[in-house]
C-alpha cells in the first residue's frame, strides 16, 4: 500500500450500500453491530434501528449511508489495527441478522491500518 496508513474505521462497497438502501426503503433505518465468538461470530449483524440496545461502552466505528456501525469496546481494542469494509456475501445469514437481500448476508473485509489513529473512536 502506498500513501499514509489509513485510520481504523469502516467503509462499504457499492453492493453493501445498495443492500442497505433496499432494507431502508423496505422497512426503515438499520444499524450494524460487529459480532464475535462462536459460529457466525466475526460477522457484522444488521438489525432494524433500535432493535439492539447500544451500551455506554460500545464504540461507534462509523456510519454507512447514515446507518451506524458499532463494535464492543473490548473487541475494538483487538480490531483497531484493521480497517473494515462492509460488503455482501453469498448465502443467507446464519444468525439473527437481517439478510443483505435474498440469499445474501453482510460481511466485513479487513485490512491492516494505522492503529495509532484509533483514539478518535474512544469515548463515544
Amino acid at each position: 500500500m502506498t500513501g499514509p496508513p489509513e485510520p481504523p474505521g469502516i467503509d462499504a462497497t457499492g453492493e453493501a450500500r445498495s443492500a442497505i438502501a433496499d432494507l431502508v426503503s423496505a422497512g426503515g433505518p438499520v444499524m450494524f453491530f460487529q459480532s464475535g465468538g462462536c459460529c457466525d461470530g466475526s460477522l457484522p449483524m444488521c438489525f432494524r434501528q433500535g432493535e439492539f440496545i447500544i451500551g455506554d461502552h460500545d464504540v461507534l466505528l462509523g456510519t454507512i449511508s447514515d446507518c451506524p456501525f458499532y463494535i464492543d469496546h473490548r473487541q475494538y481494542e483487538v480490531w483497531k489495527g484493521t480497517r473494515l469494509t462492509l460488503d455482501v456475501g453469498a448465502g443467507e445469514p446464519e444468525g439473527f441478522s437481517l439478510a443483505a437481500g435474498p440469499g445474501l448476508h453482510f460481511i466485513v473485509r479487513s485490512r491492516v491500518c494505522d492503529a495509532s489513529a484509533s483514539d478518535q473512536f474512544l469515548g463515544n
Binding site: G41, E51, V78, T82, E92, P93, G95, F96
Partner: protein
C-alpha cells in the same frame, strides 16, 4: 474424545474396516430422506403456516438435498401452543416416568446410532468417524446422565427452629425456548433438551439455520416415546423465528449457544420479559505445552502432540477449539516439528468415509470467513507453517466446503490469536516461563476452555487455577463427559451445561415455610 471413544474410532481402522457410507436418500443408504420436512409440533409433522420452505445444503458437496420449513412467527406460536398444552401433565409426571422417557430417548438413539451418525455427518460436514465415536455416544449418554441426575437431585429441608421447617422443592419453569448452533446439531440438541425435560419442562427448539435436518431425523424417532408437545422443533431463519421465540412472553427461559451479539440480544429480550437466560458464546482457547512434555519420548508425549492437533477436531468448528497453542520456547522447534508431521498426515476427504479425519466446513459463509482470517493473519505478519488454502478433496465433491488444516505462527496480539475463526486454523506462539504462559493465556476476551500439558502436577494445578476459563483440560483436551460442568468466564457466556447443576438452571425453587406450632406470634 473420551478414551472409550478414541479406542472405538481406532478399531475401525485396526480392523481394516474402512468404508464409505452411502449418502442419505440414495439406494442402499442407512438414512431415508424425504424431499421436504415440516415442523415437529405436538408430536405431529405440521406444515408451515405460510407454506414456505428452504433448501438444506450438504457441505459435503455443496448441494441442496432436501427442504425444510421456512417458518414464521405463526409457526412458533403453534409450537408454543403445543408445548403449553403438554406443560402441566409433563411437569407433574413422576421422576420415575420422566427418567424412563429420557432413557428411552437414549435407547432409540443408540438403536439408530449409525443411521444418525451418517445423517449428522452429511448435514454438518464432520467426519463420520467423529459422529460414530463422539457426537452420538455423547448425546446418548447425556440423556442417561440427566435421567439419573434428576432422580438423585434432592430438595433441601432446613429446620429453622424446633417447630418451623423450610422445605425446598424444585419445580419446572414451564415452557422453555432453546436455540442451538450448527457445529454439533444433535449433541447440542441433547445438551439443551435433556436437562430441560429432566427438570419437567417442555421445549420449543430452534435448530441452527445451516443444520436443521438431522434434528428432524431425531424427531422422527420420538413417536410413542416422548409425550406429544414436550419436544417441538421449528426450523427457519434466526431473524424471524429465533427472534419470535426469544421475545415470546410465553417462554419461561431462553437458552442459547452462538455468538456474542446474538447473546446480548437474547439477554436483552429476556430482560424485556423478565425471564432467565443462559448463553454460551464461544472462546479462543489456549493450549499450553510446557517444556517437560519432551522429557521423554513416550506415550505421554504422543498424547500431547495429538492434544495440539485436536484443533482440527470437527474442522475447528468447536467453541472450545484449542486454537491458540502456547509452546515453551526451549522445546518449540523440536515439538512443532513433531506436531507438523502429525498434521501433515491428517486425511481430508469425504466425511462419509470412515478413514477421513477432517471433513467440510459447515457452509460457504464459514469457508470464506476462514479464508479471510488467514489473509488477515498474513497481513499482520503471521507465518503460515502448513496449509492455508481451500482444499479440493475429490472431483465429485468439488463444490464442498473444504479447508486445509492450517497453522500460523505469530504473536498473541494478532487478530488470528484473538478471534474465534471456527475453522481448522491454529495460531501458535511461544512463551519463556510460567508467568508469561499465564499472561498470554489470559490475554483474551474469552474464557471458555484451556489446555495445560506438563508432567509437573503442581505446575498444572497452579496454571489450572490461574487461567480465567470455565474448563481447563489438564493433560487432555476435547473430552466432554456428562457430569463435568461446561461454561464460560468473561464474554464466553453465562451459565453452565453438562452437569446436574443445569437442573437448577431449568427449575424454580419453591420454599414451603411451615410452622408446626399452634402459638400466635403475639403482634396483634
Amino acid at each position: 474424545m473420551t478414551n472409550l471413544m478414541v479406542n472405538d474410532a481406532a478399531k475401525v481402522d485396526a480392523a481394516d474396516n474402512v468404508k464409505v457410507f452411502i449418502a442419505p436418500g440414495l439406494e442402499g443408504s442407512l438414512v431415508s430422506l424425504k424431499a421436504r420436512y415440516e415442523n415437529f409440533i405436538g408430536g405431529k409433522w405440521v406444515p408451515p403456516v405460510k407454506g414456505e420452505y428452504m433448501d438444506d445444503v450438504s457441505p459435503v458437496d455443496g448441494k441442496a438435498f432436501c427442504q425444510v420449513a421456512r417458518s414464521t412467527k405463526e409457526d412458533v406460536e403453534l409450537a408454543l401452543d403445543a408445548a403449553h398444552a403438554a406443560r402441566v401433565a409433563w411437569g407433574e409426571t413422576s421422576l420415575t416416568d420422566r427418567a424412563k422417557v429420557l432413557n428411552m430417548i437414549a435407547d432409540v438413539l443408540e438403536a439408530n446410532l449409525t443411521m444418525l451418525a451418517v445423517a449428522e455427518s452429511y448435514e454438518n460436514g464432520k467426519p463420520v468417524r467423529e459422529t460414530l465415536a463422539a457426537d452420538l455416544p455423547l448425546a446418548i449418554d447425556h440423556f442417561r446422565y440427566f435421567a439419573g441426575a434428576t432422580r438423585s437431585l434432592e430438595g433441601r429441608t432446613t429446620e429453622i427452629d424446633k417447630d418451623t421447617v423450610a422445605f425446598h422443592f424444585h419445580e419446572p419453569l414451564g415452557v422453555v425456548g432453546q436455540i442451538i448452533p450448527f457445529n454439533f446439531p444433535l449433541l447440542m440438541a441433547a445438551w439443551k433438551i435433556a436437562p430441560a425435560l429432566a427438570a419437567g419442562n417442555c421445549t420449543v427448539l430452534k435448530p441452527a439455520s445451516p443444520t436443521p435436518w438431522s434434528i428432524l431425523k431425531f424427531a422422527e424417532l420420538l413417536d410413542g416415546i416422548v409425550p406429544k408437545g414436550v419436544i417441538n422443533v421449528v426450523t427457519g431463519p434466526g431473524a424471524e423465528i429465533g427472534k419470535a421465540l426469544a421475545t415470546s412472553p410465553r417462554i419461561a427461559k431462553i437458552g442459547f449457544t452462538g455468538e456474542t451479539t446474538t447473546g446480548r440480544l437474547i439477554m436483552q429480550y429476556a430482560a424485556q420479559n423478565l425471564i432467565p437466560s443462559t448463553v454460551e458464546l464461544g472462546g479462543k482457547s489456549p493450549n499450553i505445552f510446557f517444556a517437560d512434555v519432551m522429557n521423554a519420548d513416550d506415550e505421554f508425549l504422543d498424547k500431547a502432540i495429538e492434544g495440539l492437533v485436536l484443533y482440527a477436531f470437527n474442522k475447528g468448528e468447536v467453541c472450545t477449539c484449542p486454537s491458540r497453542a502456547l509452546i515453551q520456547e526451549s522445546i518449540y522447534d523440536k515439538f512443532m516439528e513433531r506436531c507438523l508431521a502429525r498434521i501433515a498426515k491428517i486425511t481430508q476427504g469425504n466425511p462419509l468415509d470412515t478413514s477421513t479425519m477432517i471433513g467440510a466446513q459447515v457452509s460457504n459463509q464459514q469457508l470464506e470467513k476462514i479464508e479471510s482470517y488467514v489473509e488477515i493473519g498474513k497481513q499482520e505478519g503471521a507465518q503460515v507453517l502448513i496449509g492455508g488454502n481451500v482444499a479440493t478433496v475429490d472431483e465429485t465433491l468439488a463444490d464442498g466446503y473444504y479447508f486445509e488444516p492450517t497453522v500460523m505462527k505469530g504473536h498473541n496480539k494478532m487478530r488470528v490469536f484473538q478471534e474465534e475463526i471456527f475453522g481448522p486454523v491454529l495460531a501458535v506462539t511461544t512463551f519463556t516461563d510460567e508467568a508469561q504462559a499465564l499472561e498470554i493465556a489470559n490475554d483474551s476476551l474469552y474464557g471458555l476452555g484451556a489446555g495445560v500439558w506438563t508432567r509437573d502436577g503442581n505446575l498444572a494445578y497452579r496454571m489450572g487455577r490461574g487461567i480465567k476459563a470455565g474448563r481447563v483440560w489438564t493433560n487432555c483436551y476435547h473430552l466432554y463427559p456428562a457430569g463435568a460442568a461446561f461454561g464460560g468466564y468473561k464474554i464466553s457466556g453465562i451459565g453452565r451445561e453438562n452437569h446436574q447443576m443445569m437442573l437448577e438452571h431449568y427449575s424454580q425453587t419453591k420454599n414451603l415455610l411451615v410452622s408446626y406450632s399452634t402459638k400466635p406470634l403475639g403482634f396483634f
